[in-house]
Subunit: 251 residues, 6 copies
């Protein structure tokens, strides 16, 4: 399925250039600079012993995420949420989505009473920041769990990970379903959908929105097919990144 109509020449089912750089940071237990084309997200994973108050004594751990955009990650500068004194709805919504997605492949019992926070800070935004965040956060999460295991913070044989997870956007642009929308595509899409799937092909989140006219069941099916194809590609790239040797953290 090739198509000359995308403004950057990609095929309709083609991802942008994806880069996953592990251990981009030195302090964080796991970290990834993930790039989907010009979109760049820095994911830093923090492992801490203990859990939030409402989980104490239950023998289970917690994985959560905080997403935020740097003020000049976008084309025109936005005010900092810290300066405004409140976190916007979109920021909250995406933070919750990332956390939920990661917990879908975590056995919190196996994690013990420990917490992992995934900070996803968008350094540059060009569409797909939430899907890049989830895709990169998975890799940082794996490294964090290995680091905790190596330091004896979780048992050697504990298996907190029950699978892998990735996310991709699909949408209908100029009447055609396409994969991995960049900002110019996203801002003109008639329908926009974010799909989070496990490496094994199960759905974890499906969030589709008609931006213009409502979409029908056929379009929905076409988009889900594209998403499954993209998730397959991302899963392979995550595996490759995790199998390649990573930069040594300087501690």
């Amino acid at each position: 399925m090739t198509d000359a109509t995308r403004h950057d020449g990609r095929a309709n089912d083609q991802l942008r250039d994806i880069k996953i750089t592990r251990n981009w940071l030195d302090h964080a237990e796991g970290s990834v600079l993930v790039e989907f084309g010009k979109t760049r997200v820095l994911v830093a994973a923090s492992f801490t012993e203990g859990v939030p108050r409402w989980l104490k004594g239950k023998g289970t751990g917690w994985v959560t995420a905080e997403y935020e955009m740097l003020p000049r990650s976008t084309n025109t500068r936005s005010d900092r949420e810290s300066r405004k004194g409140r976190v916007g709805g979109r920021t909250h919504e995406i933070s919750r989505l990332i956390g939920r997605s990661l917990r879908a492949i975590i056995d919190t019992k196996a994690l013990g009473e420990n917490t992992i926070v995934l900070d996803c800070d968008v350094l540059q935004a060009d569409g797909g920041t939430r899907t890049a965040s989830i895709t990169g956060a998975y890799v940082a999460l794996v490294d964090t769990i290995e680091d905790a295991r190596a330091r004896g913070l979780i048992p050697k044989n504990a298996q907190p990970l029950t699978g892998s997870i990735a996310a991709i956007s699909v949408g209908v642009v100029n009447g055609t379903p396409v994969l991995d929308l960049d900002y110019p595509e996203d801002s003109t899409a008639e329908t926009d959908m974010n799909v989070v799937m496990t490496g094994a092909g199960g759905f974890v989140e499906v969030q589709g929105t008609a931006e213009g006219a409502p979409f029908d069941r056929d379009e929905l099916n076409a988009l889900l097919d594209l998403a499954a194809k993209g998730i397959g590609d991302l899963t392979r790239m995550q595996t490759e990144a995790l199998e390649a040797p990573a930069r040594e953290r300087q501690r």
Copy 2:
């Protein structure tokens, strides 16, 4: 499709008792007390001339929504968001969903430079508060537009409404796809999905989340079928409510 397994005896594709009471308030241009079983949402629509600053001078109107739960709408009392000094992520997320859903059937050009705010306050929560809000808000929106037309605030022949809209939840409970989950079902569902559709059967929002194990394409299809059935029922009830005479507002 009947099933004895639902705790309240409903068939799997059966809605709860739905009540739509128009003009429950006297001041608001449109208002609805909408009940999905024990879930009760008071929707108040406010029509004001003018638009937010970023829309000024473009000749288009604006429709937005604010959702909030009363502190004791739930089984145990929650702190007020006004007292906490910040609005939670879930509240923001649902407010945005309601606003987006209503704008999907609004021609903002035809609305002129006017704003309609839909306040959806949950008086009692028993699952499905966002779907009840959207379903009720549509009815309040119709009444508000008629009121504005009657008062000459929008032209006699303007048609800001391009269709009807309703929303319903579906989910997999005990392995079975069911329609319109109440709170006990919602809190044990393996998969939870909210679907917003037009009366004409187009999708406006599809938001599915695996609460436990990921779901597959077949389950997704079964849930979408159930949702379409439920939306059909709700659309009919909205029409009946709008055709019946409404209580006179005391002004």
Copy 3:
């Protein structure tokens, strides 16, 4: 004392239509929809074991209240205090008044280390929202204490209630002292007074304000006489409401 001058035809010492509907909600231990004419306040009482930190270990309970207006309870929509990120002075002031008034008839020792919160949410405002709140909250409080007793949360023979409480507004409108002002009266009153009294006739709060010219001792006396008459009427209605069978809560 009859007078043709009130815009709705009431006698100067006549209350509006008062309705007290018990158990309007299903989750709350006690709840009342109280109506003073078009003013409608939903009172939800929440009984919780334990007390605020500063009371711990003293063997006494706590009763408090939170008052808030829905954004479109009024003629024109107001911004939500949760969205503004701060609670306004008037909201704080009325919340404090309601809490103080209810504590005047509570023996906190007899309550044990338990807390009752009275949430008073104004669904529709037409004057007298604070007096309706207090009057309705008393009824919800009685039901809540009975519910706690029935569930064994307070001893069978404990008597936390030391009396009944009600509140009413009085004011000088067009030079004439009148009872239970609605919004049109309230907004043109020269003097406005809220009086909280026990069923036994003792004063708990007297808050009088000259909106225009100062008032003299004679006017003050006339207003207090009217208030005493109105409190007598309300006390009788509270008793009747509490003696009538209430709707069963669906739990």
Copy 4:
């Protein structure tokens, strides 16, 4: 009416030592350090041209007040409201009371489109901070209006002041009605009342609260008599302060 029972030896109808020091500040158009015994409030009046947005173009002025306590004005230190990020209910309530009281003797038309803000900062608190604030603010207000007149900001013959205003607390302590309660009295009073009156003897605000048992009509009358006596004394002291030469402001 003399009585040996007050802990500081005052007669029941006797004020504490009252000092009113005008022009305590150099920048403020009017300022007063007002002392009721150990209670010390610094009142600074700011005259600015223009009015809040909602009053613009109506040809009337505005008088408002902001009350706040320094963190160590009290026996034990309280957190700053600026650090807490929100203003407490009591602070709001008293600020509103002071503003309302001063507006009762202001002809806002005669003030022109100008605003006077009265900042009442409690340097030391020993009961009666709100009554000291109102009593002192009146004097600062007179000086501010004269300053504005002298600078030509309001017309020579404009008479924005329609009278004088003062405030005093009264209460029932150990069963006896007394005037001008200090903190030890206030914290043990059975009934507490703040009364704001004009120099001509009209009531502007009456706020009585039963702290313990409800009070009856006789007690209410006794308290109002005491208040009238105290207001008479304060009015005379305000006049004396205004007639005495004031310190020159160093500008």
Copy 5:
């Protein structure tokens, strides 16, 4: 070094009139009204047993400060930070400077697990509010420690104070280095420097800022010389104030 060019006739190395009034307040363990010319700061010191959570169990005490300006301390009124809901950067910065400066002469071990908070509220501002705050706070701190010793809250032989501390501003005004700038000088200075020194002549803080053109090493040296001279004068005045009998606090 005399110079006719300063607008108030002072020599270039001459301080303004300095007044240090101890025990200006009755409740606070130590308090000082400190005046540098027209600048007046009320310092209230609060001694409390216990330390912030992050210091618990370490056997050391804590000294901290909060600085704030009254809204009309300045020539034109500023909004209250409590009303704005956030504390400004300058306020934070000066609060931190004062706290750091005082801790430089405190042996926190000798203080035991106790906390002293220095509230520095600017009643009137005419330049040098932070230096007046530090200079006055030292005196209040000495009195507070003596009070704690007298009450047995710290051991008789404990020596929490390791020296004295004072602060002064210096700057280049009209090309000439001068000491203790008032507001008119401060607002036109080319270079502005605040210096905190111990009585023994050691530097604790040096904060110099070029307001216009950068300054060179010679200017820097001239300013440091002036500062050392001023600190010497202030140290002598602090000693005199502490040796003079102080007003008795009325408790």
Copy 6:
């Protein structure tokens, strides 16, 4: 001056490895990833037409800065200031310092009524984040001004830059004055000083703090000498970075 005592083997007057990567971002008019050893700050400069309200119509521009640390830039994760709802004192203080420093080499008249915001986000912190921010921000500022000139937003011949600016930390560690402290040195330094200087050698800011014992004039002089040496090195590196070809921004 070589010394074996620094934990990373540097000479006492030696900077860490400094890297200045221009145009690290694509949207921002100017951007720099600046690294001082492990400290990494992403500076993004935003040029916008127009100035803040208080500068309007004066014909001058504005340069300001906002500094913030990512939550996991540090060894242990800190809460986000946006989540806390307030910006901390240190963050404010450093933001103000950066803005002031850059304005010292800007002729705001020559900038016209335009605003440049420098966002300095610390991706990884290892001491010297404020000095790296200033040093990098200067380079981003130069690029931004050139970009504005190229786009005709400022006149071809306008010269808003009056010099160059850089910053470095110096301190006394283990009794020895050293240049460019990393975090382990900074946290054990007896004296800590940040110096901002122009490329021409003028002082713009000198901020020295005794962390332990006060410092004397000789130590101060030794630190200033070191700082001057370091600024010289940094100025040369800035020049080299600006003369080298930069990555093309992908727009």
